[in-house]
């Protein structure tokens, strides 16, 4: 078991605050009082590590969950999960959910007037391999309107949920697509000041994971909170 060492502090401007007024719902759902800063203890520095059998075989492929193939453009989303000390995060659970090609979620509260796809649930799960790598096969999700402001549309995105080795490393994020004209207008994507941090939410078109005559490939690397790397680390 790895020694319990605190993870790095959050780098200013790279993580959203709870209150972000352009995202209207945050006004009533964010604390008004300041957060209380807590030294990290064994409680924050341990966390659930899920066993291999938590993921059903084939859960990485969202195009083969039903009898037929979903509509839309087939894509491969692949990447690597690392920590802030540049170490891969092996065997960690990734949960994924997304809209279908028409921009509709398989969810009773989604009222968008766009068709459901009987062959697409929008749910995927995978564990990273021993080097922190993962791959999903899915379809490119559609953009969809929401009611944050007049004529608001979410850019195409895929939701990602990750655990990492500790409670402190838990991350839920969204992956976007390069060149999406809606990104500039989206208050969720634009929730942090740091432009580099925002741009790392945008996947990169990648020939390496593009499958000839099958699917375009997008690379999305994810960094979880972690310890600083130390030059002395591997010498013991």
């Amino acid at each position: 078991m790895e020694p319990l060492l605190p993870v790095r502090s959050i780098v200013s401007g790279t993580q959203p605050l709870h209150l972000h007024p352009p995202y209207v719902t945050s006004k009533h759902r964010s604390p008004a009082k300041p957060l209380i800063r807590l030294p990290q203890t064994i409680s924050e520095l341990t966390g659930p590590t899920f066993p291999r059998d938590i993921v059903k075989p084939g859960s990485f492929d969202l195009t083969r969950q039903r009898s037929g193939e979903p509509l839309g453009q087939r894509i491969v989303v692949s990447g690597r999960v690392m920590d802030e000390g540049d170490r891969p995060v092996p065997h960690t659970l990734i949960e994924l959910w997304q809209a279908n090609a028409a921009g509709r979620y398989l969810h009773e509260r989604d009222q968008h007037d766009a068709p459901l796809d009987p062959n697409f649930t929008g749910f995927g799960q995978v564990l990273t391999d021993s080097e922190g790598r993962y791959t999903f096969v899915t379809i490119r999700p559609g953009e969809y309107p929401w009611r944050n402001h007049y004529n608001a549309w979410r850019p195409a995105h895929i939701h990602f949920s990750l655990f990492g080795p500790a409670f402190a490393t838990r991350l839920v994020t969204q992956m976007y697509f390069p060149g999406d004209p809606l990104l500039a207008h989206d208050p969720i994507f634009n929730c942090v000041d740091d432009e580099n941090a925002r741009n790392r939410l945008i996947s990169i078109f990648d020939w390496n994971c593009t499958i000839p005559e099958q699917a375009l490939g997008y690379r999305f690397d994810i960094v979880l909170r972690g310890r600083d790397s130390s030059p002395f680390e591997n010498r013991s």
């Binding site: 959050i10 709870h18 995202y23 759902r29 994924l96 979620y105």
Partner: protein
């Protein structure tokens, strides 16, 4: 060196698609030793409205104060070892409920043990990044020396306390209030 951690984004309104396969409201099977407790409550926003689309995640030690970090990757979940992870969505009334064993004390930062507590992450539409808080147990004698509770002004500590319902020590109430007079204490680390 890697860049800083990837920016957090909201779970949005449709997280059930991705997160429901691991919903887990019964944390301790019958063979797990410890004092059985059920904790229930509501999640309310700054206007007192119930939040029907939140999800809580629980992380806690077993009755002896051990976290399940050493769980074997090739082993199956459940059985005789306590996992300590829960995931509970709120219902249409903003209510949630989960059953577990009361956690034991775990080490703190200063050589002293921490009082028994349960870690909670809260995710919902409107939150770009999770909220983190802790559940403590009202009148537990260890609370007085708990380092985290000492960081909280006394008047606000009650927001972290699970309270017996009708004097029943195994049925506890704990609510989350996002804003206002009775705002729950949230932590950062």
């Amino acid at each position: 060196m890697s860049p800083p951690a990837t920016t957090s984004q909201t779970v949005g309104p449709f997280f059930k698609i991705g997160l429901s396969p691991l919903y887990r409201t019964e944390l301790a099977s019958a063979e797990i030793p410890g004092e059985r407790i059920t904790i229930q409550g509501r999640v309310l926003d700054g206007q007192g409205h119930a939040i029907p689309d939140a999800v809580l995640e629980i992380w806690q030690a077993d009755a002896e104060g051990n976290y399940s970090q050493s769980l074997d990757f090739d082993k199956e979940l459940g059985g005789s070892s306590f996992f300590g992870f829960g995931r509970i969505p709120t219902d249409a009334q903003g209510s949630f409920r989960f059953s577990t064993v009361k956690p034991g004390s775990v080490p703190g930062t200063d050589g002293n043990k921490q009082a028994p507590h349960i870690l909670v992450s809260l995710f919902m539409r409107g939150l770009l990044i999770r909220l983190v808080t802790r559940i403590y147990f009202l009148n537990d004698p260890a609370n007085e020396k708990d380092f985290a509770l000492q960081l909280v002004e006394p008047a606000r500590r009650s927001t972290l306390m699970a309270i017996p319902i009708n004097g029943n020590p195994s049925l506890l109430e704990w609510n989350v209030i996002l804003q206002g007079e009775q705002e729950t204490v949230f932590f950062d680390f």
